[in-house]
């Protein structure tokens, strides 16, 4: 074979080569052309006696096979003589295999000093003596391979081998350090932990196993590690019986306490699980990597303190995984009723808060977001999704302050995504304050509301931390209030309010309230808060809740349902109001430090992003930043060249490459010939980084910034922070030819005149557009039929003829059915056609693929539509009214799952055979609730923790359709309306659900 690994001309020393492993190594090396020094003292395996016979026999064997070898009988303790013998015989040394060893197995109690010393001397001192004598020769010729022979006994420990284990792991340490010293001179060092039948193992292993563990199996690895084409160094390998593998260190993620904390044995005990948990672990392979967590901790700065209740380092800044919640018109009205709206059902100002069809508009109260936010926090806490480092029970906390800000008017129904984080933690002495911030985003990703919930935690302070800032001044001016609203709460106020989500029995159960020291159930603080919000809206917003921007209060005293609230308000600035709310009966301030701010007008949602070209002209790009860096480096040469490194920045989206050469002090586009340090990240992240909006460390640790090559050199890039922004702007001006001024957005939107848009207008606009752009229209080449409902109409879009007309075509090729309102939303870009389609609100039949060609609709000139709107045609029924009616109907839908599973339990009880047929335990996850059904036992459990072979995820609606026989089981699965985890088979047998409703 031509690719045989050869050792021609190489000189190999194998110690202890008279028998077993050493002999096998020597024979293999010699057979591959090496000249071998066969060393063996000729003693017994316990290190007694000596003779030349063993080494001589091996040398004879090698010579008989045509190889070259000489024998040596020195002890490895005389390593220099062994090396000299090799030099004398062959004139050089290339490979040292430290194999010689002895055993002095004895239990530790009986071990003598001589047992310890002899094992140490032969294994450790002996390997050192031979290696040390050979080392200068290997270094000088810049070539060498060394193998140490370790053992599983050393790595894992073994009874009766304390001395041997010590010596064998000692060799591993020696190997690691020598590998580092030898690397630059091409002296590569490895260790093996072999298991092979030899004189030493005959004493401990059964004979058959010894047979299977032939030394030859080990020698193949030794030969490869010693070959010049092998570049492995610093490795430890387990080998034997046909098995070959590499070992490395594995370290748990562990626990880090910030510097400056008092670390007690109790803390170590309490975190023991995490300290020994390997589920997140690393494989450190150098002292630098070993130190990395410590250096990171030092870099992170001193601890911010804490105690057994609160660990500020862990908790502060923690961000909860985003969660979603939905509300609809019914929730909005119920909340408003809960905070006293509509008490006078003839007051037109209040009807818009509780009546979804109200002519003047139906708008949620901004304070409702506070109730939603607190509900999310409580829900997370109950489910154990709490910030790490907060270890106090709910019994210790009081809602101390509330801040609510609503940036855009809340729609009558919405799904919001909430992102919560621990924004601040203050040490107030006896107690502590934890500020939870919840930011809520709508489905377009727009930030809609911010809530800050300040919780006072009794008895959890006193770690000597910061007290926190004094709040914004909310002292009322020394004059009579500018407005006063007086309103009685009703005796059943709390019973009504709790239906909006806060079901704490403190507000409803007299016994529970007494146990907490109240004479009767108290009103929810956030209910009083909602009253105050309404009072502000009534006094300063003309009753329009969309104008209240923010509201902040401190909860001072509880309110009893039925008491009268008096809110006194002072307008201290055009858009700022200071207020307080008192209970009239007891003359106590219940909401203190009240501050509210207003929107000057109803805020509009932001327009769609400006066209890219306009944005490009207005803002610096990464190219400008590099231009700025170039200018800076030209000016500040000595700062710039301090790093002495060639960096490559590889940006993506859009892709570009830039070289910053701090040796030459230059910046240029493209990659350098040899980059010393490469940084890869997106263009957007790069811009965020250089403008200080993104922390490079965070980008790096989250994997968004990748650094390769000389990673340390990336730390020298901090001079980039000194780059003058004016340099960047200058580079931009140069690029854009002087046009530095932002381009004004000019795109008109249909939304500007929402009242007048009807589907008829849109189709007429499409017709007009077809007439102007016949080419583009004909590209689709399909006859579409739009069947709209609520109100009903039919429209033909014939892209072959380029005409649009009311009515049905003779032969539609692709039919789209949807509601008039959804159609309008779609053409205005407010509804995604795909989403409409997947949710079943848009039905497509005929040539489905043709529907994808309708993208030209999004290219409609908005002005065209606007012009068509200017000439309104026959009046169509108001689409808006129809859609409101439809949504009100949808809002009335009650979940059927609870009823259905109750019915299921009855059915299974009455007819156990039905359950036996399903024959499995199935968990149904319906929205946020679940039911576990043990069909054979006929048991239905809400929630439930029993192991289920099958887990079914399904919406309440789909479940209802199945139960009513409108949706087949397979159809539901195939269409993705029913997900099945685990075994699918039981899902096929769920016919028992049909007819339950």
């Amino acid at each position: 074979m031509s690719n045989e690994l050869r050792f021609d001309g190489k000189v190999v020393i194998v110690t202890g080569a008279g028998q077993g492993l050493g002999r096998a190594h020597a024979l293999l090396f010699a057979s591959r052309g090496a000249k071998v020094l066969v060393n063996d003292l000729g003693g017994t395996h316990t290190g007694e006696g000596r003779s030349s016979a063993a080494a001589d026999r091996v040398v004879e064997e090698i010579r008989a096979a045509g190889g070259t070898a000489v024998a040596n009988y020195d002890s490895v303790e005389d390593g220099a003589r062994i090396v000299q013998a090799a030099l004398d015989a062959f004139g050089r040394i290339d490979v040292v295999v430290n194999n010689a060893g002895i055993l002095r197995d004895v239990s530790y109690a009986k071990m003598t000093d001589a047992d310890w010393d002899l094992v140490y001397r032969v294994h450790v001192r002996g390997a050192h003596a031979v290696t040390h004598a050979a080392w200068p020769h290997l270094r000088e010729q810049k070539y060498g391979r060394i193998v140490f022979t370790s053992s599983a006994a050393g790595i894992y420990g073994n009874f009766g081998q304390v001395n041997y284990a010590m010596a064998k792991l000692g060799l591993v340490g020696m190997m690691h350090a020598l590998a580092i010293e030898g690397r630059k001179n091409n002296v590569l060092v490895n260790a093996i932990a072999p298991i092979a039948g030899s004189r030493m193992t005959e004493t401990v292993l059964p004979r058959e196993l010894v047979e299977a563990l032939r030394p030859e199996y080990v020698s193949a690895l030794v030969a490869w590690l010693c070959h010049e084409s092998c570049e492995e160094t610093g490795g430890l390998f387990e080998v034997g019986g046909g098995f070959f593998a590499k070992l490395r260190w594995n370290r748990t993620e562990g626990v880090t306490w910030r510097i400056g904390r008092t670390i007690t044995p109790e803390m170590v005990r309490d975190q023991w699980k995490r300290i020994v948990d390997f589920s997140k672990s690393t494989f450190p392979s150098s002292v630098a990597e070993s130190m990395a967590p410590i250096l990171r901790n030092v870099e992170a700065g001193p601890s911010r303190g804490g105690n057994q209740y609160i660990d500020v380092d862990e908790a502060l800044g923690w961000e909860a995984p985003p969660v979603r919640s939905s509300y609809d018109e019914r929730d909005v009205a119920l909340y408003a009723l809960g905070v006293g709206a509509g008490a006078d059902a003839t007051d037109p100002r209040e009807l818009g808060l509780v009546y979804e069809m109200h002519g003047g508009g139906f708008h949620p109260l901004p304070t409702m977001t506070a109730a939603i936010a607190v509900q999310q926090i409580m829900k997370a806490a109950m489910e154990g999704r709490q910030a790490p480092g907060l270890r106090f029970g709910l019994d210790r906390i009081l809602h101390g302050e509330q801040y609510t800000e609503v940036l855009f008017p809340l729609p009558p129904r919405a799904t919001l995504e909430h992102r919560a984080k621990i924004k601040a933690i203050w040490d107030k002495g006896k107690g502590a304050v934890v500020v939870n911030e919840v930011r809520s985003y709508d489905e377009q990703g727009e930030l809609v509301a911010i809530n800050e919930v300040s919780t006072f935690v009794r008895g959890a302070g006193g770690w000597g931390g910061e007290r926190g800032p004094a709040g914004e001044s909310a002292d009322p001016p020394e004059r009579a209030p500018d407005a006063v609203v007086r309103e009685a709460t009703s005796p059943d106020q709390a019973l009504l309010y709790r239906l909006s989500g806060d079901v704490n029995p403190l507000h409803v159960d007299p016994g529970f309230a007494r146990a907490f020291g109240f004479e009767r159930p108290i009103l929810h603080g956030l209910c009083t808060f909602g009253f105050a919000g309404r009072h502000l809206i009534r006094a300063f917003c003309g009753g329009d809740p969309r104008l209240l921007r923010s509201i902040r209060v401190r909860f001072a005293e509880p309110v009893y349902p039925g008491e009268t609230l008096v809110t006194e308000m002072w307008k201290v600035e055009p858009l700022k109001i200071v207020f307080r709310t008192r209970v009239q009966e007891r003359d106590k301030v219940v909401l203190a430090n009240g501050i509210a701010t207003l929107h000057p007008e109803v805020p509009q949602r932001k327009k769609r992003p400006a066209p890219a070209a306009a944005a490009a002209a207005a803002e610096p790009t990464s190219a400008d930043v590099f231009g700025g860096i170039a200018r800076f480096m030209a000016r500040e040469r000595d700062v710039a060249t301090r790093a002495q490194t060639v960096y490559l920045f590889r940006l993506s989206q859009p892709d570009s490459e830039w070289t910053i050469d701090t040796r030459e002090g230059r910046v240029r586009p493209g990659a350098p010939e040899r980059a010393e340090c490469t940084l890869e990240l997106t263009d957007a992240d790069f811009m965020a980084m250089v403008t200080g909006k993104a922390d490079p460390m965070k980008l790096f640790s989250s994997g968004r910034l990748r650094i390769s090559g000389n990673v340390m050199a990336s730390q020298k890039l901090d001079f980039l922070r000194k780059v003058d922004p004016n340099d960047v702007l200058e580079a931009m001006r140069e690029r854009t030819g002087g046009a530095g001024a932002p381009a004004a957005g000019t795109a008109g939107t249909i939304g500007a005149a929402p009242q007048a848009v009807t589907s008829e207008v849109v189709f007429r606009a499409i017709g007009a557009w077809f007439a102007k752009n016949p080419e583009l229209a004909r590209k689709a080449g399909v006859v579409y039929l739009f069947k709209l409902s609520n109100p009903d109409s039919a429209w033909t879009l014939d892209t072959k003829e380029g005409v649009v007309r009311p009515g049905m075509p003779d032969r539609p090729e692709c039919t789209l059915e949807l509601s008039d309102a959804d159609f309008l939303a779609m053409v205005q870009g407010q509804a995604d056609p795909m989403k409409l389609f997947t949710s079943g609100r848009l039905r497509i039949s005929g040539n489905v693929m043709a529907s994808q060609k309708l993208e030209f609709l999004t290219k409609l000139d908005r002005n065209e539509v606007a012009a068509a709107m200017g000439a309104p045609a026959s009046s169509a029924p108001s689409a808006a009214a129809a859609s409101a009616g439809a949504s009100a109907q949808a809002a009335a839908r009650q979940p059927v799952a609870p009823r259905l599973f109750e019915a299921l339990e009855q059915r299974l009880r009455a007819q156990p055979a039905l359950g036996a047929e399903v024959g499995a335990t199935v968990r149904f996850v319906v929205g946020e609730q679940s039911w576990t059904v043990d069909f054979p036992a006929g048991r239905v459990e809400r929630g439930g923790s029993a192991a289920a072979a099958t887990v079914i995820g399904i919406s309440d609606e789909a479940l209802e359709e199945i139960a009513r026989g409108k949706l087949g089981l397979q159809q539901a699965f195939q269409r993705g309306r029913m997900r099945v985890d685990g075994d699918v088979a039981p899902a096929r047998r769920l016919g028992v659900l049909v007819g339950l409703l």
Binding site: A780, T838, N847, M849, Q852, F973, G976, D983, V984, A985
Partner: protein
Amino acid sequence: MGRRVNVIGVGMVKFQKPGASDSYDVMAREAARAALADAGVEYRDVQQAYAGYVYGESTCGQRALYELGMTGIPIVNVNNNCATGSTALWLGRQAIEGGMADCVLVVGFEQMEKGALGTKWNDRPNPVERHVGIMNEQQGFNEAPPTAQMFGGAGREYRWKYGTRRETFAKVASKAREHASRNPYALFRERLSVEEVLASPEIFDPLTRYQCCPPTCGAAAVVLASDEVVRRRGIKSPVYIAGQAMTTDPGSSFGDSMIKMVGYDMAAAAARQVYEQTGLGPRDVQVVELHDCFTSNEILTYEALGLCGEGEAEKLVWDGDNTFGGRWVTNPSGGLLSKGHPLGATGVAQCVELVWQLRGQAEGRQVEGARVALQHNLGLGGACVVTMYRRD
């Protein structure tokens, strides 16, 4: 049967992500060069060439092969969706078997764009309209990549029929990665556990990201020759094509089954023809390269090729009969899932892998005792080519 057709030379380039590869002409040329060198023949010895690719202007084959020589031979460009490579192979085999040529070069290549497969020509009828129509009837149509919806939907139908666990599909992806970790030509060589596969983003239930083959750039080439060439050049014991069949959609593809719509019957028919031609069956095969564009299709294909009975694929997977140590090794190369799927190159690269396997040159992924190999390459639209290779 006509004359015996031998595969005397194979070559390919390492598959790359879109944007990271050379352009198609360079890749195709390098693969062809490697195949010619492996065969020990010169480009001037080639009498005909078949060039397979899907995306690109016309005559890309000439653009690539002109770099090797201007010999004026016929060069045929072949386009048959994902079955393009094996269709080119099929044409080359036919030319030699029928006595029209003695030495043929087959090259497949693809320079793909990032992202899932989409359509390029929206001003004319789409060739898979009928397939999509079936899908729309069965399960609707959504924003997921259309091919994932098709094969994912077939996966759903399979799960429904046989109760198959999600993990079984994931296990196929994990196996593909394990195999690819041994193949230096593969795109994704990092191993993935079943858990990691399941945790990747869902594309279309039951398919997660790691259960979908990636857009890939690459090229592969083979040299086919008659016995006469083999004798003249003294080639010892070459790999030869023992049987080969190509099928297109039967009527049953357009019924009410997603499994059939994605080509199950087409594949089963092609396999049956090959078993009839050769007199050999699945039990005689040791190594298989099959069209695992999605994990679901690998599962379906076990049954279409007769490796197991209908509904038995889950057992086959958990018994490990698709990997080293089992009854067969399917996709030792890592398959489309991990080696990558450059459409036009795939069918040729499968052949390259199997030739290496039969010659015992597959190094770290060598299937012990491989004597008979089976190839399955499928394209929607549709076409399926099944080929059996042997080495005596």
